[in-house]
Amino acid sequence: MTAITTSRSRVRLFRDQHVTRLASILVVLLLFFALVRTENFFRLATWQSMAVQFPEFGLMALGVMLTMIIGGIDLSVVGIANMTAIGSATLMLSIAPTGSDSPEGYLALMAAIFFSLLVGALAGAFNGFLVAKVKIPAILVTLGTFELFTGIAVIISGGKPTSGLPPEYGEVMASRLFGVIPMPLIIFIVATAVIGVLMYKTAFGTKLYMLGSNETAAEFSGLKTTSLTIRTYMISGLLASVAGLVMLGNYNSAKADYGSTYTLLAILIVVLGGVNPNGGSGRLAGVILAVVVLQVLSSLLNTFPHISNFYRPLIWGGVLLLVIVVNQWDKRDHLARLFRWKGTTS
């Protein structure tokens, strides 16, 4: 039976055109990188700096992915990340003011993590409640709560960066496993593994896809659609708060307008990863590949000093539209037909 299941999942992964397409894009991108910026490509620091950076938006993208699979969206992830980061930074400062001893620092660290996850989950559950119970479209709910959470963050922080964190926090977040693998990457891998198990090894995961595929049928099949929706947004909020903790570590401070480009980036990743914006389909593998592709692309752009950072939104927006157009085209079988046509004439 296990043999059957593994062969089946391999077949399914291959059958998923997005995954194969993304994997080939990644290979081409890496080859291009290796050829054009050989020096950077073979430097460990390049990869380490990537591994520190992408978990910030990668974690947010995981949350957005879940909400999009059930046919919703979460635009509030950046708001949640900043709000929880500022909240936990403020908490740490009150537990361990500058110049405190190390035990107090670690206590502050633990409290911050706990607080952050709790608030993130609550904020997400609030989104889920408005979507599932009050029945407001997710795009409006999360746009509204994004402003709300950002507003709370601005008020707590007074609009200024919250810094001067206990050094223990920075040390833990900057630590490297075996001296090589940065902490943010480890956090991202753990989160991915947990989400993967949730999606493919539990009934919850199957139900998410079913809910996204047809809400009425889910209702008629006896699924607790309200609770499923609330839990999904809760997980998204939780992941966003983890992203907030990573950002807090990376910048050693928190501010209400950090990561302002991440909302679009997270959605771009999820759509690029092959998740249907109408819900019901999409694979974790695709989303992870999309995270990596965009990070590599971004790092590659950084090595061209004459391409200004100002171009970045333009590039991300262009890529997003291109992917949506290609997906739409693909749905009508045009790509397959194109390939078939090539096959018969050549």
Binding site: M1, T2, I4, T5, R8, R12, V197, K201, T202, A203, G205, T206, K207, Y209, M210, S213, N214, T216, A217, A218, E219, F220, S221, G222, L223, K224, G280, S281
Partner: protein, 504 residues
């Protein structure tokens, strides 16, 4: 012989390898009332779409007004007097009757500014053509089905129609409304306008049609006069099979009803419904669209709140406030529209079958035991003879009949004690239809209590041991199908009674 309004000659049309129409010919004379009959999927709709220019025929020609077309466009069809009234009428529900009627004319003249007085004049003229009274300022969405249909007919007549095609026009009409519609059609006939009636029900078209054309699997079967047809021949021509008229006889062991309702009412939907169901029975509930039959089913499945009356299961009063409560009491529901309410089209066949019992495949660690779920799905695929090479395929790859079996399997997998089926064989091919009926009879024999809600009269008469007729939200009679003819049942269903709005 007068020239034909339309002559379809040897038209064929294939979709992705499936031959939807195979050298079909059809002629309609001016003023003729012609009935096009055929099962679901026989190619009726495709033929209409070819005639109205929506689909281009692969082969064959269409002659309109003496002009021959091989590739007809919708504009050419309209300008040659072909008008189609679809089942959904294609009206704009958010606009008023006047706007609905006048808009086409306004648009056709490429006007930039709206002249309300002119629009009113156009609309008044249009309504006058069919001699009915409709409030021009009413929003179309608030009209009754029959009135919407009248608006659609009036709109069709505005553009000098010579042939009006009506797709299943009587599905949701009461007897009086049907009579009114027939009056209009006869009036059109006297003005030389031909009507092509599309239907799969003999009763409703027999009294008015002058000629019948029956198609099956995209092929022309027969064109004949009504005198040459009786009910048996009609079904034979439609299905190509002789029916065994074996009726269902229940084996009722328990004397205690499993499900009962007394004076159950839901405002605006149904009222005073009392029924009882014993294990082993197949209870038919029939009625027109909007008679409250679907709402009653939803109330029994916990999806619609009733405001008075009582539901009892095993003699104990229960409150079915959610679908989950209903399921926990052993009630299953195969919904009316499997595509929007029953299936997760892009998900796999396997997960569609096991979704309602998925929590029973979770180990104590919370991990889903996929192999057990797969085995369960496979068991149902074999049991219900679902034709698929792989349970991992998406449900959307299946035919209507197999899709309906998936919905059935999903519910049978929850081991229900009461199974409610709403329109179990709508849009299902004849073979699957028989299989589904056979399964239902077998299940009843094993002691399941079954409710079949359907407006397919032969289906109800053949497969149920009792039939309740619903009309305007009430149960108007309880019948023994062995003592009832199809015509009697049809008459009860479409009899005019006071509407529910009037009484509540």
């Amino acid at each position: 012989m007068v020239d034909n309004v339309i002559a379809v000659r040897g038209v064929s049309k294939a979709f992705a390898g499936v031959q939807a129409l195979d050298t079909i010919s059809l002629e309609i004379a001016p003023g003729e009332i012609h009935c096009l009959a055929g099962e679901n999927g026989s190619g009726k709709s495709t033929l209409i779409k070819v005639i109205s220019g929506v689909h281009a025929a692969d082969e064959g020609t269409i002659e309109l007004n003496g002009k021959e077309f091989s590739k007809l466009t919708p504009m050419e069809a309209i300008s040659n007097g072909v008008q189609v009234i679809y089942q959904d009428f294609s009206v704009f529900p958010n606009l008023t009757v006047m706007e609905n009627l006048a808009l086409t004319a306004e648009l056709a003249e490429h006007r930039t500014f709206v002249n309300w007085r002119r629009m009113r004049r156009i609309a008044t003229e249009a309504i006058a053509k069919i001699n009915v009274k409709i409030d021009l300022d009413a929003k179309v969405g608030q009209l009754s089905v029959a009135q919407k249909q009248l608006v659609a007919i009036a709109r069709a007549l505005m553009s000098n129609a010579r042939l009006i095609i009506m797709d299943e026009p009587t599905t949701a009409l009461t007897k009086r409304e049907v009579d009114a519609l027939f009056g209009i059609i006869l009036d059109l006939k006297s003005r030389g306008i031909a009507t092509l009636f599309v239907s799969h029900k003999l009763e409703e078209v027999f009294e008015i049609s002058e000629r019948f054309t029956i198609i099956r699997n995209g092929k022309h079967v027969i064109t004949c006069l009504p005198e040459e047809l009786d009910h048996k021949k009609f079904s034979f021509f439609m299905t190509g099979r002789e029916f065994d008229d074996a009726r269902f006889t229940p084996q009722i062991r328990a004397t205690q009803p499993i499900l009962e309702t007394s004076r159950l009412s839901a405002h605006g939907a149904f009222s005073d419904v009392s029924l009882s169901l014993r294990p082993g029975e197949i209870l038919g509930i029939t009625g027109l669209l909007g008679s409250g039959r679907t709402e009653l089913a939803l109330a029994l499945f916990g999806s619609l709140k009733s405001d008075s009356g009582e539901i009892r299961i095993d003699g104990k009063a229960v409150v079915l406030d959610s679908v989950r409560t209903a399921i926990s009491h052993g009630i299953g529901y195969v919904p009316e529209d499997r595509l929007t309410e029953g299936l997760f089209l892009e998900r796999s066949i396997g997960s569609n079958i096991v979704i309602s019992e998925i929590d029973s495949f979770v180990s104590s660690l919370g991990v889903l035991e996929q192999d057990k779920a797969d085995a369960e799905a496979q068991r149902w695929i074999t049991d219900l003879r679902i034709a698929t090479p792989d349970a991992q395929n998406a449900v959307s790859t299946l035919s209507g009949g197999n899709q309906q079996r998936i919905v059935l399997a999903k519910w049978l997998a929850t081991k229900p004690r009461v199974l409610i089926l709403n329109g179990p064989t709508v849009g299902v091919d004849i073979g699957s239809k028989h299989d589904i009926h056979r399964v239902l009879r077998e299940l009843a024999a094993e002691g399941l209590a079954v409710i079949v809600i359907s407006d397919d009269i032969p289906e109800v008469i053949q497969n149920c041991n009792r039939v309740l007729v619903m009309n305007a939200g009430r149960i108007v009679s309880e019948l023994d199908p062995t003592q009832t003819s199809e015509l009697e049942l049809a008459a009860l269903m479409s009899k005019d009674v006071q509407t529910l709005e009037g009484i509540s």
